[in-house]
Amino acid sequence: MAATAETVDQVQDNSGDKYKYGFVTDIEMDTAPIGLSEDIIRFISAKKEEPEWLLDWRLQAYHRWLEMEEPTWAKVNYPKINFQDIYYYAAPSTKEKPKSLDEVDPELLRTYEKLGIPLREQEVLAGVVAVDAVFDSVSVATTYKGKLEEVGVIFGSFSEAVKTHPELVRKYLGSVVPASDNYYATLNSAVFTDGSFVYIPKGVRCPMELSTYFRINAENTGQFERTLIIAEEGSYVSYLEGCTAPQRDENQLHAAVVELVAMKDAEIKYSTVQNWYPGDETGKGGIYNFVTKRGVCRGANSKISWTQVETGSAITWKYPSCVLQGDNSVGEFYSVAITNNAQQADTGTKMIHVGKNTRSTIISKGISAGKADNTYRGLVKILPRAEGARNYTQCDSLLIGDTCGAHTTPYIESRNPSARVEHEATTSRISEDQLFYCRQRGLNEEDAVGLIVNGFCKEVMKELPMEFAVEAQKLIGISLEGSVG
């Protein structure tokens, strides 16, 4: 497969420079004063010219957050975060909002070019992906808006949606992840800055993949984005999300909230390639990725599918979940989580079966190398009304080296006798036989590992849209660099 060959090339190309997105864009920034207080929230809200109700919503969340305790149940260790030592708002300074791409700071355009994200529509060869680019706290550009508007799809930054479609935002914001859901989601509700908003009207199949590219640039900044996707009856959308950050010695916090709503017969496919800066070999620096993602299948026969490739971040703490309310609704979770060096990941999913004949599939592949710890944590819950519910879970862990850890913690709760739940988990390592076989055919050890790992993850990778699959395969090779020998 060509992509596999590319993985090999990539590994060789990057032998000197492991995290190629580690550069900093030198651009003039507008920031809020450091720290968190009611004033900062008012500042963010004012900056975004938000309506009163949204400010109230933020403040309520903030007061709630002050009373909450930081959760400690995940299998991750990190020094206590000083929430007063973070900038909650940072944006490239502009006198006025750019009307077209030509007015966007060329430095910003160059940044996205360097990241491989073309923002100029004519530069996109296939022209099949619309991109919303989020730089620190604000969305800097959204492509193909016109084309999408023709079919009635609303795609753009969250702040803009608050202005143009306040009724939709107000109706759905917090309807899936309530403001008081958990510590980080509540913090996000108080201080979220930007993110993407997607609305697919009834019966529309979104004509192109939608994509958001998140970039943390400023120092000591937290990124708190909020994404809301609503798929009306009979609609379909595929949404991709990518993330990178500069290489810094300090840890940076990223606490996002993603809410998905799928109505009757609708389908949302949500794919993530998470490549935040993971820190160096000794565990210095890197992003704390504490994210709450949840989708609700509200209508009958709806479907939500999460696919994630998690290669970055010093710490990953996220559980993209599905609440299967509608009868016959389907939830899927496909995940590859790779941890190397000192990275820690505690990730998995929750499948809550509420409606009849709801089905869920969980495929999780955890790869651990170096001194990393990788935990799958998941919940499958069958409620009494979920007649005929079905779940299949498979969690495989691969250990590379004897100083890393791989853990599996599933919770399985069933209250309906007609439900069928199956869970399987295995732990293994790359066998000597497999390595020997590849080496014999002339591959060096690192390439052989890349090949075997890509094979191990194949079930998940095939769920990714084409554009992302190649990228993700490359990332896997890079992430595992230096893990053998």
């Binding site: 988990a425 732990t427 390592r429």
Partner: protein, 404 residues
Amino acid sequence: MTDRTLLLDKIGGAGLPTPRVESWKYTDLKALARLNPVLADANSGQSITAVPTGTLPEIEAAQIVLTNGELRPDLSDLTALPEGVTVEETDAPAPPEFWREDALVGLAPGTAIAIRVAKGVEASKPLHVISIASGDAMAIRPSVTVSLGEAARLVLIESHIGDGTYFTNVTANVTLARAAALGHYKLQADGRSAFHIARTALTLGDNTEYDGFRLSTGGTLARDEIRATLDGSHIEARLNGAYMAGDGQHIDTTSFIDHAKPECRSHQVFKGVLDAGGRGVFQGKILVRPDAQKTDGYQMNRALMLSPDAEIDSKPELEIYADDVKCSHGATIGELEENQLFYLMARGIPRDRARHLLIEAYLADAVEHVGHEPTRAAFQKTISAWLQHHDGTPETLEIRGART
């Protein structure tokens, strides 16, 4: 009545564990706190004058009988003790490090029944420890320590029965020296209103073999917690079990296998049957420490749901720090296959009988691992009896002399 110490006073401090503690997430002891039983008096068990028959595994064995947690030499058959096996009351060992924090461990009595098998002794006859309880709002604390010397062999059966709203807090400490082999089979058939909370700590040495099976059918709330430390190489540990809950029963099985040394094998199969109002909990964890290379760990929990108001909560866990290992676990939840029932009924077998056959076959997978043949047969009988009982034939347990 000399001393009337209430359970919660004795425990003091933080009180009973609550569902906020991760390992007690699914088992709430509120009802036990409400009962707040009195610690049983030294001679409270004397009213029990005979060992009831009918519910115990009928196995030819030497017998150690405890009534309300105290050793009863008069009911025990110590003369039949296999040679090289000694039984005495000793000071209870200090609770293992991993349970120090647990309030219920502090409840263990100051003395324990110590069973020792000398080095090289192969006990010809099984040893049956029977704990009988009778009384209301009373807490009893049977405590047993078992140690097998080098290359010693023993079959140990542990039975728990009783009637009343009592609470039995069971402590068992088992230590196997190098190359020893123990068959350890437990029946928990405590009274339907009883609380049974048991902790079994196993410490296994080099080249030992542990063959365990536990069947839980009794109690209104029961928790059977096993912690096995594989503290040697080339250990073979089989820890299987079955639990059957109906009528508002809550049965919790919690196991923790600690692979501390290389080249050991652990195998667990637990099967649950949940009938009307029954709730099953299974929490199983396999820990493989960095040194424990070449570990082979397997764990399976299957639950069969027979009724719309049954519930199962399962949490199988793997925590692995060594790379050259083979570890897997699985969990399944489902109901009886309608087409299997149909197959049997089409051959003239009545529906109830067909159901029994299928459930027995389903449980056989766990029971058939019992290495000691007569015990296996006895457990199979107990399972059949439970199924009968659940179809309307009431099971009565009369404890002679206990109540007049």
